[in-house]
Amino acid sequence: MGRPPLVVVFVALVIIALGELSGAVLSQLRPATARWAAARIAANPQVHGLTGSAEYDDTVREQTVFATEAGLSFFHTHAEGTGLVLFFAATLVASVARRRALRGALYTLLTVGALFPLGYLVYAVAVLQLGRDTGIELAETWVLTPLGSSAILGLLGLAVVLARR
């Protein structure tokens, strides 16, 4: 099986490693993460619509902390997955794509696409700083959609190359 460029392998390894680390953070540092998230919410009361009423604010706080943990959880699962997708897809590109320029284009699309899970990290932080709706919009518009599209284009390109052989 052909080997992709070292930079592609490096990105795949880093994404998988970050996925593993985030899993460890989710489990071992969960109380600390929840405390940090609650502190960020308290630091941005207008953004979260805090009213000063304990019952209402507690509900808002719980939901927002949950959203942050969900973002982290999504990052964990997707990073593990896209790292592996990049590794195996890039190996296929190295093995079946004959033209250098085509290989380069596919490597670029797949590698950029493998960074897609960072969108969930952006979401997890943005939801604390900017509020839920703005956080989702930011993550979707600037990270998830463009990077996800890159991954899809890269995989479609690989499928075309495989179909033509």
Binding site: L26, S27, Q28, L29, R30, P31, E69, S73
Partner: protein
């Protein structure tokens, strides 16, 4: 050999002491049991005006079976009167029957909690669990209780809140005697409620 023993001791101390509250393994959402699920089916059917559906669900379901099984602890003829109300399409009377049933379940749980605490059960374990179970049943009757006897509804809520504060104190272990007294109050409020709503017609406190 000594090193192995040290490692083994450290390991067993860690395993005994270390909480594992951190690991994120999913969120548990409590489910209905067969009785409460059947009750909701009957209730929503009544509310939709589909008394034939409500009656069918009631006849075939665990709610009726439980009412019959606990007949000795319920006002005489409660199950039969409740069924008759469903047949007569009398939603208010059927609701009253179910309200008394769930109040009785909650009352019995409060009495059992008091009995177990008196027998030496750990207050920190028994208290919160029984309170949860009491509320799960009483919650189904709370609205109807509020309509029929607002004072009893308020008294029950206050008694429940007090019991919760005693069962889960901010620091230290729950006080057994005070927790027993709290369960006793809950049982007494529910006993009076059952008595009053069984013997008197609908009254609404203005």
């Amino acid at each position: 050999m000594i090193a192995r023993r040290v490692v083994a001791t450290a390991l067993s101390t860690t395993l005994a002491a270390a909480p594992a509250a951190a690991h994120h393994t999913g969120v548990y959402t409590p489910k209905d049991n067969a009785i409460t699920e059947n009750f909701k089916q009957v209730k929503f059917s009544m509310q939709a005006g589909k008394f034939d559906v409500a009656l069918a669900r009631y006849d075939a379901g665990p709610l009726r079976a439980e009412m019959r099984a606990r007949a000795a602890a319920l006002p005489e003829g409660l199950e039969a009167r409740t069924r008759a109300a469903l047949v007569a399409r009398d939603a208010a009377e059927a609701e009253r029957g179910f309200m008394i049933f769930f109040a009785a379940l909650a009352r019995d749980l409060a009495l059992e909690a008091d009995r177990q605490l008196a027998a030496g059960a750990t207050p920190a374990t028994v208290g919160p669990r029984f309170l949860e179970a009491i509320w799960r049943y009483y919650n189904l009757a709370d609205f109807v209780v509020g309509q029929r006897d607002a004072r009893a509804s308020v008294a029950m809520r206050l008694a429940y809140d007090d019991a919760e504060a005693l069962a889960r104190p901010a620091s230290g272990a729950p006080d057994r005697a005070r927790l027993r007294a709290a369960f006793g109050r809950i049982a007494e409020i529910l006993r009076r409620l059952i008595l009053d709503t069984t013997t008197t017609p609908v009254r609404r406190d203005s």
